[in-house]
């Protein structure tokens, strides 16, 4: 339930940004894209990072 709520929040957020930056488009393809991106954002948000995990250029 919490997962669904959280993902819905991301979908809502992305829809808002999409309306402002890309214009109105309620197509099924747009909605599918937003759901997929929201799922990725949700996963990334749930994973924890530590202070030492700074972005770095080389592996």
């Amino acid at each position: 339930m919490a997962r669904e709520r959280s993902q819905d929040d991301f979908v809502q957020l992305l829809q808002d940004i999409a309306r402002q930056t890309l214009g109105a488009d309620a197509s099924e393809a747009r909605q599918a894209l937003l759901r997929q991106t929201a799922e990725e954002l949700w996963q990334v948000t749930q994973a924890s990072v530590q202070a030492e995990d700074e972005p770095a250029l080389l592996p």
Partner: protein
């Protein structure tokens, strides 16, 4: 001698010994391409005249006892996102349909300096992302060759050329290599310069090679690896002698990461991989199970976020001007990248660092991690290029990965075995791959090649 069947190193040995001329080699490959290209469609541009001119010059030089380098007189293919001076570079996009760069990508310049002949440009998906090239899989024409290095995979698999350049942001070297039954190598991030290559994602783009043998992959890496001041991400780590170390590997210690890869593989792929593991074990390889690092599963999502955002940034200006000329998948991909909050983008970068930290001790325990390269053989249809899920983790981590053919699926398409190792251990990785290649002794060729040959 069937010159089109020779590998890079084999051709080089013949040319040095005077038993094959570069002119004969180029003529043989062009004739072979003429026979197969109408079906396979691997090439965007074939530089027949330029290749023959170069071949004649190389032949004359050999006759004078001169050679330019280890690839003297050897034709290669170049994925069409690498800039080639005086030769069209379309990036698989109608926006660049007539674009002719005035300089070579560093990788192309290094090949030329080593004596290689640029035979032409191979098809790529649009801007090396998702919308497919017209290329067919030479093992079965109704199946995808994979992507985005579609033409390079098909051309090498169909013996139109023995080596080609590719690039990988998710799985674009190893997947077409596996689908087309070739060797594919994606070295460590920064090992090969990306200067002059149209980017997909600055943090994730790697240059790689497709060949038919591990020795040839080592030969190309030897030529291509090294620091380039034109590429800010280029590594300064010294380049070892990959060819000298190729035959130094005894039975290796291989790590098997079952959780992520074996669970997602199709039953047939899982079964074939178990058979491969049994053969390697019988030949002396030590196998040990490696647990899946905690953050491994989220790596795919983090990778996608970085790739979406950076692709949107790369295309920001071009997209504003030519939005209608972008095909549907890349258009959606760019648009999704524009929506992602910056904090999540940075978080994805931090997850990359976390996963690098978590996997380091496991990589230190083994010579290489072994997995299937793809969850299935090349899927039917040309509307998509297959699933990058098995190649993406190593790209995300920036560590070297290699695929080599290890068997044939029930539908007659090849299957690949994927090896990955710690950063900048390509010499060891290639030696392990050479040991596996010798042990598995894969010799099958596409029916198209065997029939026409």
């Amino acid at each position: 001698m069937q010159a089109h069947l020779l590998g890079l190193a084999e051709s080089a040995r013949h040319i040095r010994a005077g038993t094959l001329s570069p002119v004969d080699l180029v003529e043989a490959l062009l004739a072979w391409i003429d026979a197969l290209e109408p079906q396979v469609q691997a090439w965007v541009t074939l530089d027949r005249a330029g290749a023959m001119d170069s071949a004649r010059r190389c032949t004359a030089e050999v006759q004078r006892g001169q050679t330019r380098g280890p690839l003297h007189g050897i034709p290669v293919g170049i994925k069409d996102i690498f800039f080639t001076a005086g030769m069209r570079t379309t990036c698989g996009s109608q926006i660049f349909a007539d674009y002719v760069p005035d300089h070579d990508a560093t990788a192309v310049a290094r090949l030329k300096a080593a004596g290689a002949i640029i035979l032409g440009k191979t098809h790529t998906t649009e801007f090396a992302t998702l919308d497919p090239a017209p290329t067919h899989n030479p093992w079965h024409l109704e199946h995808t060759p994979g992507g985005s290095s579609s033409g390079s995979g098909a051309a090498v698999g169909a013996c139109m050329v023995a080596g080609a350049l590719g690039s990988q942001t998710a799985g674009s070297v190893l997947r077409p290599a596996a689908y087309c039954g070739t060797v594919g190598l994606k070295p460590t991030f920064g090992r090969i310069s990306r200067y002059g290559v149209f980017p997909v994602s600055w943090r994730l783009d790697h240059i790689g090679v497709l060949t038919r043998t591990v020795e040839d992959a080592a030969l190309l890496l030897q030529v291509l690896a090294g620091h380039d001041p034109h590429d800010i991400s280029s590594a300064t780590v010294p380049v070892p002698d990959y060819l000298a170390e190729l035959e130094t590997c005894g039975a290796p210690r291989l790590g098997i990461m079952r959780d992520f890869f074996f669970e997602r593989a199709a039953p047939e792929v899982r079964q074939r991989m178990e058979e491969v593991l049994a053969r390697l074990c019988q030949a002396g390889a030590q196998l040990c199970d490696i647990p899946q690092p905690e953050s491994f599963a989220v790596g795919y999502a983090a990778h996608r976020i970085i790739m979406r955002v950076e692709a949107a940034a790369v295309h920001e200006d071009l997209f504003k001007q030519h939005r209608d000329k972008y095909r549907p998948h890349i258009r959606s991909f760019i648009e999704s990248g524009m929506l992602i909050p910056s904090v999540q983008y940075v978080r994805a970068q931090r997850l990359r660092r976390r996963l690098q930290r978590e996997i380091k001790p496991y990589l230190a325990q083994v010579d290489a991690v072994l997995t299937p390269t793809t969850p299935t053989p090349a899927p039917h249809g040309l509307q998509a290029t297959g699933d990058p899920v098995f190649q993406t983790p190593w790209t995300f981590l920036g560590i070297p990965a290699l695929t080599l053919p290890c068997g044939i699926a029930e539908n007659g398409l090849p299957l690949g075995l994927q090896l990955a190792s710690a950063p900048f251990t390509e010499a060891r990785l290639l030696a392990v791959a050479r040991w596996c290649e010798r042990t598995l002794a894969f010799t099958a060729r596409p029916t198209l090649v065997s029939f026409k040959g």
